[in-house]
């Protein structure tokens, strides 16, 4: 395999960024190759240039960027020199790409069958009947159930995993030599992700396709890669076989990245015995339209949820999208009104409190949101965002500012930065500010709704550490919502696993991870990417 000419060879490729960017090159002098039947994972954090690499290969660079040096050889042909007509020929037939977001990558007004057939229509002379046969064939190959029925449905009628299968089918229908997968499973649930990864490996193994797989997730790397290319700020810092890179990383950066991957094994924890800060009893939330004439559709987002969080304790709610974990968080924060049940904060049931009486209790429960780019008002300085809450409760402006300065220092930011606007901070820094804003209210319960899912893995580790520090320091009760089992294993004392609105399993993190009782929990753990992998550094560091 190594002897044969590679499907893709990138040599000394440099792509310049427009003037005035924070660095001169998006990628600089990178070189690696992808052999037939080989999966090469390009790993890096945001801004590392991994997606630009993929776009350059496909000839899809945005207009402001251009390759200034080097060559990209697809089966020996330099695609940088190819005319746009030739590039069009190559795309689909010799190289194909699948994207992160399967909903937006598919055209919502065309049936999925038409979208796969479109590739055939453009590149082959097949008759319509033959095309349909080929489409059905490839749909069977990607294990879509009932291809005869699915071929005529629209993208919104099928699930995210099925959409990604359609994307893969369209990419592979002409048997390209190279498949580029740009974070193809990032938007999917973990169980779906496992299936898609298995599918990609199976198909490329059978067809001998070379795969350039872009990801930020070392679990996925461990699961699928033959070789790994690690990128940082537009340069390659390390290349090598998967096990070499994962177990014996050479560069400091790779070591740091791998060390930042949380282990699936929960560390030992003493049981918390503090007073109960939050107790929900039979908490339920039903969404639905109560039409005047028709009985609307009813969705039970959460049903009979019992969760207890003590002071100083972190309780995780783990589940896939649609499991109801965020609904529970929003009910507890009273951003939505629960349909029934009890939410006890301290001694008070806040479940049905009217807004006027609720206000006094709001300060006890604070929330840190998932998306640090949207959780701070872009038009207000971060200082104004932090002092807003305390001033609502009558703290004088000077005192509130003092508190904000202390909190900025506490979360590891310069107190002078209070006068800046959110866009001047990175994602991790913004998440620190969001934590400072929550702490400014001196809450008893902190709800963290996927607080690190939008962050790079190295930043993720720092923010998790900060959350743990403030929990200890202020004896906070933390309700931690996450889909990421690794994160849950590291930060949670106890874990509740939710599926379709119901808590299917609850217990200490150690118990749940060591001996999952419910079959859904077992399925989740089975699907966790890289669960069997040995992250050399992580094991020794932990």
């Amino acid at each position: 395999m190594a002897e044969a000419a590679p499907v893709l060879a990138i040599e000394g490729l440099t792509v310049a960024l427009p003037k005035g960017s924070d660095r001169p090159h998006a990628i600089e002098d990178i070189g690696f190759s992808v052999g037939a039947g080989e999966i090469v994972c390009v790993v890096g954090e945001s801004g590392s240039g991994k997606s630009v690499t993929a776009q350059t290969v496909m000839g899809l660079l945005p207009r402001e960027l251009s390759a200034t040096a080097g060559a990209v050889r697809l089966e020996g042909e330099n695609v940088l020199k190819a005319t746009s007509a030739r590039l069009r020929d190559l795309r689909g037939t010799r190289m194909a790409m699948i994207f992160q977001e399967p909903m937006t990558a598919l055209n919502p007004v065309m049936t999925v069958g038409e979208q796969i057939a479109e590739v055939l229509e453009i590149h082959t002379e097949l008759s319509e009947a033959d095309r349909r046969q080929r489409v059905l064939q490839i749909m069977r190959a990607v294990h879509l159930p009932e291809p005869e029925r699915l071929i005529d449905v629209y993208p919104h009628q099928i699930s995210g995993g099925q959409r990604q299968r359609i994307m893969i089918a369209a990419a592979l229908v002409l048997d390209p030599a190279l498949l580029i997968a740009d974070e193809p499973t990032t938007a999917l649930d973990v169980t779906t992700q496992a299936q898609i990864l298995r599918l990609i490996r199976e198909l490329q193994g059978r067809r001998g396709t070379g795969v350039l797989f872009i990801t930020h997730d070392f679990g996925v790397v461990a699961e699928i890669a033959h070789r790994v290319v690690v990128m940082q700020s537009g340069r390659i810092v390390e290349t090598g076989a998967r096990d070499d890179v994962l177990r014996r990383p050479q560069s400091d950066y790779t070591r740091m990245l791998i060390a930042s991957v949380p282990s699936l094994k929960p560390p030992p924890r003493a049981p918390r015995t503090g007073p109960v800060a939050l107790a929900t009893e039979r908490l339920s939330k039903t969404y639905g339209t109560r039409g005047l004439l028709f009985r609307g559709r009813v969705v039970k987002a959460a049903e009979g949820v019992d969760i207890v969080v003590r002071r100083g304790e972190t309780v995780g709610i783990v589940g896939e999208s649609g499991s109801g974990k965020t609904t529970v968080a929003r009910c507890v924060a009273r951003l939505v009104v629960p349909t029934s049940g009890v939410i006890r904060i301290g001694d008070v049931d806040v479940a049905r409190l009217p807004e006027s009486r609720l206000r006094e209790h709001r300060r006890h429960v604070q929330i840190v949101f998932q998306d640090p780019y949207r959780s701070l008002n872009p038009r207000r300085t971060v200082g104004a965002s932090i002092v807003e809450g305390p001033m609502n409760f009558g703290l004088a402006e000077a005192d509130a500012k003092n508190r904000a300065r202390r909190l900025m220092a506490l979360v590891g930011l310069a107190p002078d930065a209070l006068d800046r606007y959110p866009h001047q901070f990175s994602g991790g820094q913004r998440q620190r500010i969001a934590i400072a804003r929550a702490l400014a209210m001196e809450p008893q319960l902190l709800i963290a709704d996927e607080p690190v899912s939008a962050l790079d893995v190295s930043v993720q580790a720092q923010v998790l550490k900060l959350l743990d520090d403030v929990r200890q320091r202020f004896d906070l009760a933390v309700l931690f919502i996450t889909h990421d089992l690794r994160v849950a294993a590291q930060v949670c004392d106890r874990i509740a696993v939710m599926q379709r609105g119901i808590v299917v399993e609850q217990g200490t993190a150690a118990e749940v991870f060591a001996a999952p009782k419910h079959e859904y929990t077992r399925a989740l753990f089975e699907a966790a990417p890289g669960r069997n992998a040995q992250f050399g550094v992580a094991a020794s560091a932990a």
């Binding site: 924060a333 951003l335 206000r359 709001r362 300060r363 429960v365 604070q366 929330i367 949101f369 998932q370 998306d371 949207r374 959780s375 701070l376 008002n377 872009p378 038009r379 207000r380 965002s385 807003e388 809450g389 609502n392 409760f393 220092a409 506490l410 979360v411 590891g412 930011l413 310069a414 930065a417 800046r420 866009h423 001047q424 901070f425 990175s426 991790g428 820094q429 620190r432 969001a434 804003r437 400014a440 209210m441 720092q462 550490k465 900060l466 520090d469 200890q472 320091r473």
Partner: protein, 309 residues
């Protein structure tokens, strides 16, 4: 646990940069510059009307009716001095100087445009914020707005004028009422999307009272689109006023407005086209300039449109 033990990211802060100033971006946009220049010119013209070589726009002179542009006559002033006066744009069928009427007419047109825009934006903003944020009010308010929107401005103007006296106030009311629902819809749609933003929810959880929340976190997002919408309302109000006056149901005919001048010249249009031509040109330029200004503002203030060339 000391503060020092926490990871210090302080050094990594990006240098304090500002986004490119809005004012500078506006100055670079040609349609903003051209539109604003013409509007400013017209506004100055209306403001300085008495000093621009005009005579009284309502002075009737039966001897000097229907003169072509460039006709000269001798005017005797109050102190007995005589002077030659050139009717640059000719005179109308009552002998009034069309040039003076057009220049003074800019006053009424611009005042109506700006007043209508200001009132409908202010009222629409208030109603839209409430309708968008308070869920149970939404249905009621919006159905009422749908009803208002169904009333044609001209029909409403006839109603208002027949109830009260014809005049600027009646015309403004008649134009404002059907414009309000458009503003309400715009504001409401923005509020509906902004209220779901995490930073609004964060403000709720820190106990910010609803009125403060609306003003502080929601309202600023509506300003840019509202400025743009305001310019379009201004342009269309000027046009509607002209139509109403032309039809004789707007401002009383002795007041010079571009619509009135055209209405007056309608019957003799074939022989004396200047009565319609000159006010028409000014009207067209005014509306065009205001719309250009609005387009330019939208491109600059609303980047989603700017990207589509």
């Amino acid at each position: 646990m000391s503060i020092e033990a926490l990871p210090a990211e302080v050094a990594e802060l990006a240098p304090a940069t500002r986004r490119p100033g809005m004012a500078r971006m506006l100055v670079r946009n040609p349609s903003v510059v051209i539109g604003a220049t013409i509007v400013a010119f017209l506004a100055l013209m209306g403001l300085l009307a008495p000093m621009l070589g005009t005579i009284s726009p309502s002075e009737i002179n039966p001897v000097f009716r229907n003169k072509k542009p460039g006709a000269e006559r001798t005017i005797r002033a109050d102190d007995g001095k005589e002077m030659q006066f050139v009717h640059r744009f000719g005179t109308d069928s009552l002998g009034r100087d069309v040039y003076s009427r057009v220049v003074y007419g800019a006053r009424v047109s611009l005042i109506i445009g700006v007043t209508v825009a200001a009132i409908s934006v202010a009222v629409g903003l208030a109603i839209g914020l409430v309708a968008g944020y308070i869920r149970w009010l939404d249905g009621i308010v919006m159905r009422f707005m749908d009803g208002l929107m169904a009333i044609p401005a001209i029909l409403l103007a006839m109603g208002v004028v027949s109830l009260s006296r014809a005049g600027v106030v009646a015309v403004v009311i008649a134009i404002v009422i059907p414009e309000i629902p458009r503003v309400v819809r715009l504001v409401r749609s923005i509020v509906l999307s902004i209220r779901e933003e995490p930073y609004v929810e964060a403000a709720i959880t820190v106990g910010t009272p609803t009125p403060t929340l609306l003003v502080r976190h929601v309202l600023p997002n509506t300003l840019a689109p509202l400025i743009v919408q305001g310019t379009f309302i201004c342009g269309s109000a000027i046009l509607i006023e002209a139509v109403l006056s032309f039809l004789g149901i707007g401002i009383p005919p002795e007041t010079p407005t571009w619509g009135n001048i055209m209405a007056e010249g309608r019957s003799l249009f074939r022989i004396f086209p200047h009565n319609i031509f000159y006010p028409g040109v000014f009207l067209a330029f005014a509306v065009l300039a205001i719309n250009m200004l609005g387009d330019g503002l939208r491109d600059t203030l609303d980047p989603r449109f700017a990207k589509r060339v």
